[in-house]
């Protein structure tokens, strides 16, 4: 009886640890754009119907488009994003991680 209770305790601990980890690791699933350059980067983001310009300060980062979008970087390249990427702006062009 004692053994069973102990085992149940162990099970409970394992489960709660598992849940804790799940809660702790809740991921951020929007594309994150980080500007690694020294000057402000101006990006054109096309999300849904609208085409908006966003400016990201040097070293700053921004979460955009959770459902997928298109991005035009300062270098003139266009890339499509699914919405779960981490994008870094290096020398005006986008590096998707």
């Amino acid at each position: 009886m004692r053994g069973r209770r102990l085992r149940r305790w162990a099970m409970k601990t394992a489960w709660s640890a598992f849940l804790l980890v799940i809660l702790a690791v809740s991921p951020v699933w929007a594309a994150t754009v980080t500007n690694k350059d020294a000057e402000t980067a101006v990006l054109v983001v096309v999300e849904g119907e609208s085409r908006v310009e966003i400016a990201i300060d040097a070293g700053g980062s921004e979460s955009i488009c959770p459902t997928g979008c298109f991005l035009t970087t300062p270098s003139g390249d266009r890339i499509g994003l699914q919405g779960d990427e981490n994008v870094e702006i290096i020398n005006g062009s986008a590096v998707v991680k």
């Binding site: 004692r2 053994g3 102990l6 162990a10 601990t13 394992a14 598992f18 980890v21 799940i22 702790a24 690791v25 809740s26 991921p27 951020v28 699933w29 929007a30 096309v46 849904g48 119907e49 085409r51 979460s63 959770p66 997928g68 979008c69 298109f70 003139g76 390249d77 266009r78 890339i79 499509g80 994003l81 699914q82 779960d84 062009s93 590096v95 998707v96």
Partner: protein, 836 residues
């Protein structure tokens, strides 16, 4: 020396011959990747073209289906899928773009004015790469535009549907005698058309498709047999009112009401679907007849649903099964009113469907609905006159009282509003409200009864009283606790059923389309967005499931390894336990990792958690972690195993279990003590049974000076030799260990094969010593009462357990409680401090 030289030459040769190969290898990818990448781009271009065509087609379809809400909902799903596809296409070109950018960076900037020109091949490659980059960008730009177009289309569909809904609901028709007259003529035309097409269809089907028609009808009958009577047979204890039960309990009434509504309705729906399917698949139906048949079948199921529900709740015939407290007469009248409303509403829909199938003018449908709404309004107002309420304590068949004020006002106002809306020309609205009153309230009532049933069943010990509970108890002999747990599960199951079944049903009633609900459910299960966080329920469930599977596989593998492999290979029990536990930790860890990655959580973000945890370990968790690590060390080093007799600090006993944080030790009094693992690592641990169970046991004997010491020692040895459990090798020894003031102390040292038996052997020996000394007249010079009177002066008697401090090693448990007392005691009275 020559050999060294040859090795050197050989390696040089290999290195030289390998060089060009490396160079070639380095050169090939860029050239080799070229056709592949171009292929990928043309492929992307084709996909985009396909998507463009899809969009054009879809937007045409949307234009055509401007008034068909159902179709629009489906089209929206398609459009959204196309938009997703467009983004996917552009993502596929990303790797090539990255490659080009990297290569361009490698090539560097073109030389400035005046600088020496670069090699042609470099300039050419740069040119080519830049052109390709432009192509990809153009392609992505296309995709961008298409995506905008798709989103616009999707949004316009939503707007159209919204407009459609409010239009149908608030459409206004002037009601005047002329309209009624027109409707009358149209009705006559429709009746003729209906009878014509019905007769022509029947005669056609009979003449040319007799076999198919009969087969379809026969199969439908079979389906009816299967679904209707089958469900009745199968679930009869759930849905039948037990006539003998004079005073049915609340749960029984609730559950009978719920299931006697749910099961026949579901069975009827299944029957209707299958017979329609048979008619359709045997090609008996004609396009003009099919919708009429479909709506007739559908409407009958709806009517059946409402009527069975009303019957279940009101139970006009059997007052003791009634769920609401109303009088017999009131129940009968309410039942009739509800039946009339449902029938009128169903008829309205049936006639509407027929009108649509016959292509009658819209005004006819409007007028039909007008009448239906007015009738329903009248019935509602008439319901206000029914006197169903019963005063507390009154018999069910006594005269009822009127409704409470708010209820009758509500009925009158609703009925009046319905009539007014219909008369003013807002027939669509009136019809919508009438349907809501009949069907939606029926669904809500059923759902409510379902939830009440679930709640009642899930209550403690309630399940055992139900029919199913009793059946389970009888069939499987389930005890109270499993039955209670089964009740909880059943309650939760009923909740789930109610939520999954009735919420979509109500949404459908409110004009949402199946495609919408599917899309919502899909989104609910795959991506819930909270701010910028997306949670996928399916992913998390999959993760948990995988973890559970991994966990059980680990347990099974552990058992198999322990029971089948290691048990037969005669591995030491400690090693077995260690391997088993280690495999368990490893398996659970792996299952956790697999589960986490299946749940869609990025394992790299675990690094973050690990960082945070290490800080936590530094502060608060260090004890737990150190215990865990100590547990691992205990498993590897194995200073003791399960079953060993260990001593640490003040704790002594047998090891029962070595687990993650602590080790369970059972003392000789059967008290379980959890000793943290780190204590075993940091402090010294005594183990009586580490390599073997052989151990020494000492028995001190105190005798007066009037005895010959040699005689005493001989006697002691003799006694030890006579005992069967005392080992001959190492031989027992008798030692003259100390001179006292009035006594001599001897010690009998014996070895036993199993130290666990030491206590019993000592006890036997002491008894034997006492008896032999008395027989030999050695240790009893003083009378007993003198002994009792002079406690400070120990007599030369066979004393026991006056343990000198230096030989505590063998009798730790024996000595502890008795080191302080100096008064001689009777032999055998020290059982409390005895080792087993």
């Amino acid at each position: 020396m020559p050999s060294k030289l040859s090795v050197f030459l050989l390696s040089l040769w290999i290195a030289l011959s390998a060089l060009p190969v490396f160079a070639q290898d380095a050169a090939t990818p860029v050239q080799g990747a070229q056709p592949v990448a171009v292929n990928a781009q043309t492929q992307a271009g084709e996909q985009l073209n396909a998507a463009r065509e899809d969009l054009t087609r879809l937007s045409d379809l949307v234009d055509k289906a401007k008034s068909d809400d159902n179709r629009l909902a489906e089209l929206k799903v398609d459009v959204d899928a196309t938009a997703k596809k467009i983004i996917g296409t552009s993502i596929a070109t990303r790797p090539r773009l990255d490659e080009i950018k990297t290569r361009l960076a490698e090539l560097g900037e073109p030389p400035a004015e005046g600088a020496p020109p670069e090699a042609d091949i470099v300039a050419e490659e740069r040119k080519r790469l830049i052109a390709e980059r432009g192509e990809i960008n153009a392609l992505t730009g296309d995709a961008e535009n298409l995506s905008i177009q798709a989103t616009k289309l999707s949004n316009s569909i939503t707007a159209t549907r919204r407009a459609l809904f409010s239009n149908t609901l608030l459409q206004h028709t002037d009601i005047n005698p002329e309209v009624l007259q027109n409707a009358g003529t149209a009705l006559a035309v429709e009746g003729q058309a209906l009878s014509r097409s019905l007769t022509s269809w029947i005669s056609f089907a009979w003449k040319y498709k007799r076999l198919s028609l009969l087969t379809a009808l026969f199969l439908s009958l079979c389906a009816a047999l299967v679904f209707l009577s089958g469900s009745y047979r199968l679930f009869s204890p759930l849905i039948r009112r037990d006539v003998k039960d004079a005073e049915p309990g609340y749960i029984t009434r609730l559950s009978v009401a719920f299931w006697s509504t749910m099961i026949p309705t579901t069975a009827a729906a299944a029957f209707v679907l299958s017979s329609y399917f048979f008619l359709q698949s045997f090609n008996v139906l004609r396009p003009d007849i099919a919708p009429i048949i479909a709506i007739t079948l559908g409407v009958s199921v709806a009517l059946l649903f409402v009527v069975t529900l009303a019957n279940a709740v009101l139970a006009p015939g059997e007052g003791n099964w009634r769920l609401v407290r109303v009088s017999d007469l009131g129940a009968r009248r309410l039942m009739f009113a509800i039946f009339a409303m449902a029938a009128i509403n169903c008829l309205d829909y049936l006639l509407g469907g027929i009108g649509e199938a016959m292509g009658s003018p819209v005004i006819l449908t409007v007028v039909k609905s007008l009448f239906a709404s007015v009738f329903i309004g009248l019935i509602l107002m008439a319901m206000a006159l029914i006197k169903p309420m019963l005063p507390v304590g009154a018999a069910l068949n006594s005269q009822g009282r009127p409704w409470p004020r708010f209820m009758s006002v509500l009925l009158v106002v609703t009925g009046g509003a319905l009539i007014a809306a219909a008369m003013l020309g807002y027939v669509g609205l009136a019809r919508f409200i009438a349907t809501q009153i009949v069907v939606t309230s029926a669904i809500v009532v059923t759902a409510y009864i379902g939830i009440l049933t679930g709640k009642a069943v899930a209550k403690q010990n309630a399940f055992a009283d139900t029919v199913v509970g009793r059946a389970l108890e009888k069939r499987f002999g389930m005890g109270q606790v499993p039955l209670d747990q089964a009740g909880l599960a059943a309650g939760l199951g009923i909740y789930a059923l109610v939520v999954m079944f009735f919420i979509p049903l109500i949404l459908l009633q409110w004009g949402f389309k199946i495609a919408d609900i599917q899309a919502w459910a899909y989104r609910l299960f795959t991506e819930i967005k909270i701010g910028s966080i997306t949670i996928s329920l399916v992913g998390i469930f999959a993760g948990i499931l995988l973890f559970a599977v991994g966990y059980f596989i680990t347990r099974w593998f552990q058992r198999w390894l322990d029971g089948s492999v290691m048990a037969r290979s005669r591995v030491d029990a400690g090693v077995r336990n260690s391997i088993k536990t280690g495999v368990g930790y490893l398996g659970v860890g792996l299952a956790g990792l697999v589960g986490i990655s299946a749940a869609g959580l990025d394992l790299s973000s675990l690094a973050l958690v690990a960082g945070a945890l290490s800080l936590g370990v530094g502060f608060g968790l260090q004890n737990i972690v150190s215990n865990f690590v100590s547990g691992l060390i205990l498993l590897v080093e194995r200073p003791f195993k399960v079953g060993d007799w260990v001593v640490t600090g003040t704790t002594e006993g047998f090891v029962k279990r070595i687990s993650v944080r602590a080790t369970e030790i059972e003392t000789f009094q059967h008290q379980s003590i959890m000793v943290p693992n780190s204590l075993f690592i940091n402090a010294s641990v005594g183990n009586w049974t580490h390599r073997n169970k052989l151990g020494r046991s000492d028995i001190p004997v105190v005798v007066g000076y009037d005895t010959t010491p040699r005689r005493v020692m001989d006697l002691l040895l003799e006694i030890a030799d006579a005992h069967p459990l005392v080992l001959r090798n190492p031989a027992p020894a008798a030692v003259f260990s100390a001179f006292g003031e009035t006594t001599m102390t001897f010690e009998l040292r014996i070895y036993v094969a199993d130290i666990v038996n030491g206590g019993g052997v000592r006890n036997d020996l002491r008894l034997e010593i006492f008896e032999r000394f008395r027989a030999e007249d050695i240790g009893l010079p003083f009378p007993k009462d003198v002994v009792e009177a002079t406690p400070a002066d120990p007599p030369a008697e066979v004393a026991e357990d006056k343990q000198p401090p230096q030989d505590g090693e063998a009798q730790a448990a024996d000595a502890k409680p008795e080191t302080t007392h100096r008064r001689p005691r009777r032999v055998g009275s020290s059982a409390a401090g005895e080792t087993p």
